[in-house]
Amino acid sequence: MRPFVIAFLLGSLAVAITLFSAGFVLGIVAQNDGWSSFRIAAGPLVFFTFERTSRLTSTAFGSGLPLAAVAGGLLNALGAGFLRGRRGY
């Protein structure tokens, strides 16, 4: 059980950090290059929103991000289970 829990936690953390950083980079590029407002979403799940008004720009992360992290953790735990089974632990 322990390897799966660790794999889940580390996988979630890895996906969260990667998506947060990717979002920040996207926000920086969008701000510097004068992009107009946009959002990245899958249906009602919003991952990332960039807004440009006449006075300021803002970058926001939506509720899709924690869910993606949980999905990443599950995927990593599944991968750990697959490797464990293949190696006969």
């Binding site: 953390l13 890895a14 950090i17 947060f20 950083s21 590029v29």
Partner: protein, 241 residues
């Protein structure tokens, strides 16, 4: 890719004691056969050719060939370091590339007892990575990305080293791929040591993104993928290695 002119020496943390090879870092000891002992006893900066003569005098039919094969094997086992003359490695790589072969540099095992030693050992790798990625980084207008590529690798290995505090360790360089050698640890310590490496540059990425607002956070954040089972560190952390 070992040539007769290369010099061979025992790796730091490897000692000979009464016919036994002791690896202080891995905490193992192996009884060596006569040929291995002869080689290791003389591995103090002599050339592979000189070791070949020694083997020939001891009765080997192809002393030079045996010495090369033996040195390669001992180097792969991280028991000896093979020093290649400056510039010779590049010449050999170019010569091998003409035949479509990638010539690997011998492994180098360096003293990792202190952070300063590890930092000194990692510095050439970090600088090489910065220089390799600098043209591309300048092309996309973000030179700091190149710094983050080199710095990220250094921070990654330093974090492993810090997590191994109090445990014998050595830095191993396989070309531009550094790693830290250590004895087997308990389950919790293994997880902490394995996760510390990718976690340190990943957290640095978040700080760079939040406070520096620089795209340099991208290569640092990429280390986070090392926490997954796709990478050796992630598998080690989950006890799958």
């Amino acid at each position: 890719m070992i040539e007769p002119s290369d010099r061979v020496e025992l790796a730091p943390g490897v000692v000979l004691d009464d016919g036994t090879v002791i690896d202080v870092v891995r905490g193992t000891s192996v009884r060596a056969n006569e040929s291995a002992l002869l080689m290791l006893e003389h591995a103090n900066g002599v050339t592979v050719a000189e070791l070949g003569h020694l083997l020939a005098r001891a009765g080997a039919s192809d002393g030079a060939g045996d010495a090369r094969a033996f040195c390669a094997q001992l180097n792969r086992a991280l028991l000896v370091n093979v020093r290649v003359r400056r510039g010779a490695l590049l010449r050999r790589r170019l010569a091998a590339a003409r035949f479509g072969v990638f010539a690997r540099a011998p492994f180098r095992r360096l003293d990792g007892r202190s952070l300063a030693c590890v930092l000194r050992g990692l510095a050439p790798t970090g600088i090489a990575l910065v220089l390799l990625t600098l043209p591309l980084a300048i092309l996309v207008g973000a030179w700091s990305v190149a710094l983050a590529v080199g710095g990220g690798v250094v921070v990654h290995e330093l974090a492993h080293t810090v997590a191994l505090h109090g445990v014998p360790r050595a830095l191993v360089l396989d070309g531009l791929r550094p790693s830290v050698l250590h004895p087997p640890l308990g389950a919790v310590r293994t997880t902490v040591v394995a996760a510390a490496g990718p976690l340190a540059p990943s957290l640095a990425a978040l700080c760079v993104a939040a406070f520096g607002r620089s795209p340099a956070c991208a290569p640092l954040a990429a280390h986070a993928l090392g926490l997954t089972v796709l990478a050796p560190d992630g598998r080690n952390a989950c006890g799958l290695s």
